[in-house]
């Protein structure tokens, strides 16, 4: 009740974040049409040019328009970041709630399972999925979300245990409210902000993971533009044209920042 100024600052940040996210979504939807260039069209003799009126953000190492590639990458990266976040978060949250709600053996089994998954090098999983279907993006993201769900599980389980021990939940149960209502009114509002923060970081992790996989030569098929794979692709030219590799990094930075701002700033997973 004493934090009026603090709250308005927080609201301001949230609005900034939402506006940024909206702009990113718009850019992703409109895609390369915005700049009227084909993201795959090469012009080998015009490689690595600086920004010009023709190429707003310059051209990459194969003479492709950077702006067009970034926009086309935004579509894929954002979509897939969302997808992997959702596919990681849903099972993570559901299992987390299940484990803490049922407790006992169920809890122990799920925890042991989560621990075993964490102990299993996630890279193994991702690389193998990628190897099963070489060059396809869905296998990469499946693999990534398979390794990310544990984080949601651990957080949800830990928090939900605390919330469930609350007299408030007991009261609701006594009042005859069903599990659905309890999840909706007690659990989700409590764990929501934390989960959103994890998700914001998770989205960044998904994109940089694609970059990292590209680095060990497991990646998306050319000429697909994706921020992560663009980072890998442009790395060899970092010394000659540093502004090239900075662009996808900056895009990702803005996205993550926007996510954090719109989620409300907390960072603690």
């Amino acid at each position: 009740m004493h934090s009026q100024p603090g709250r308005s600052i927080r609201d301001g940040r949230r609005i900034t974040g939402l506006i940024l996210l909206g702009m990113l979504a718009l850019a992703a939807l409109a895609g390369p049409d915005l700049v009227n260039h084909d993201p795959a069209r090469q012009s080998l003799l015009e490689a690595m040019q600086g920004p010009s009126s023709e190429h707003l953000l310059g051209t990459d190492h194969l003479g492709r328009d950077m702006a067009a590639r970034l926009l086309s990458g935004a579509r894929l990266s954002l979509f897939l970041a969302c997808l992997s976040t959702i596919t990681a978060a849903l099972p993570g949250i559901l299992l987390g709630i299940t484990a803490s709600w049922l407790g006992g053996w169920m809890d122990r089994i799920l925890c042991a399972f989560a621990d075993a998954v964490l102990a299993l090098p996630g890279l193994l999983l991702v690389l193998m999925l990628a190897a099963i279907s070489p060059g396809s993006w869905w296998a990469l993201y499946m693999g990534i979300s398979l390794t990310l769900w544990v984080e949601y599980f651990r957080y949800t389980r830990q928090r939900v245990r605390i919330v469930l021990a609350d007299p408030a939940v007991e009261a609701s149960q006594l009042l005859g409210l069903g599990p659905g209502t309890i999840v909706l009114r007690h659990l989700l509002p409590e764990i929501g902000p934390g989960l959103l923060t994890i998700a914001a970081f998770g989205a960044a992790t998904a994109v940089t993971a694609v970059a990292a996989l590209g680095f060990v030569s497991v990646g998306i098929r050319p000429p697909t533009a994706e921020w992560g794979s663009m980072m890998t692709e442009l790395l060899p030219y970092w010394r000659e044209s540093p502004f090239l590799i900075i662009q996808p990094v900056a895009c990702l930075f803005i996205t993550v920042l926007a996510l954090h701002l719109s989620v409300g700033g907390g960072v603690q997973p």
Partner: protein, 486 residues
Amino acid sequence: MKAPGRVVISVQALCIHAGKDILLGPIEFHVREGGTLVIIGETGAGKSLAVQAILGTLHGSLLAEGQITVNGQRHDLLAPSTRANFWGKELATLPQEPWRALDPLMQSHRQVCETHRFVSCHSQHAAVVATNNAFGSLGLNGAEQHLPGTLSGGMAQRVAFAAATAGGAPILLADEPTKGLDTKRHATVVSLLSQVPDSGGALVVITHDISVARSLGGDVLILKDGCMIEQGPTHAVLDYPKTTYTKDLANAQPACWKPAKPCQSGDWVLKADSIRIKRGGRVLVDNFSLRLHAGERIAISGPSGGGKTTLLDTLAGLLRPANGEIQRAEHLSSTDIQKLYQDPPAAFPARVNLSCSLRDVARIHGVDSAQVACLLSRLGINSALLDRRPDEVSGGELQRISIARALTVRPRILLADEPTSRLDPITQRDTMKLLADIASDENIAILLVTHDIAMAKAWANRCIALSSPEEPLPPGGWGNRLDKAY
């Protein structure tokens, strides 16, 4: 001002602002060596703000004005930072809930010892000796290596007292020192606190408990809505109140309530036959029997930590008794037993507004909103309050809303776990009266758990006293679960 001597702490024109609103003040008081001042007020009257202003620990968004003089040193309240220097050495504080004020990871002995060591600047050896003495004189022997989490409320209170006073400060500020303690412990705390004026220090106590004020004596200051409405020697003010509020306050004590009439026995709704309750391998309640009748009000009283809450949960069907049997009347459905909680904010989903919580319950039980509104107005709740979240309404209001929520279900039995222990006397009286009225109007049986024997006697048709687990074990185990009717 019965105690002569110089003024050690004096507060002048203390005002606390939040933006343009005045939350507290102006108030003014002086305490001399050997003097005691008790500040009494309803919850939310800004009593704790006064302590924080004096200490200089107010939240950054609040602004304090006025002057405070400690031991002749004058401080402008606008500049709180300098006051850290007299913490511990000039001015000690006893916190509201000592088990939260102690470092959960450090043994109690070390927490006291470090004050001796670093604040009084004793050598390590001297500090240990001083701590041992303090533990001895406070009856804390054996608790030296305990962590705060394993201390009982009373022990934690004494450890915190030892830690707070080890710096040798002549002034002690105590904020709600009896909150959550049973009647028996009140006496212990009062005697602990009165050591301060007896040894020539000055004591400032903030409480809503009139009995504490009466036992401490000294002066009293009455706050209402942040304003000082009366001040003077305790007995004079409380025995001959000048304002209606003070009069109300003095009369709100359970001892002054109209005793309840015994209830005509109807059909029983809940029956317990010689049940035994264990928790963590320890027998908390043994051989307990009870028959609760429709419309009856029964109070179970006993010291804190005696298994009262566990008993209530067992009766509510949330826990299973180790032995014995609990029966509900056959016509009772699963939601016919409802519970009221000690800490009302903890009984509501914290991040959802109140109207939403109420709507959920009404929807499940097919109660239309008009009935709920009717119920709320009967309980005297402004419907505008419902747009707020649980932590944004006062404890008394929230407890009434929780009663309304429970009544929406049309229960036959209401189990109330210390529902008023965090409320000030007037609110407590009003709430308890409301409960009593509802019980008779709706023919609901109410089982009240309380540590306040006076209230139990005054309010209930029947009282059951549980004995203290700290008392030596009688040969037959915890046998004296008397089902004693008054």
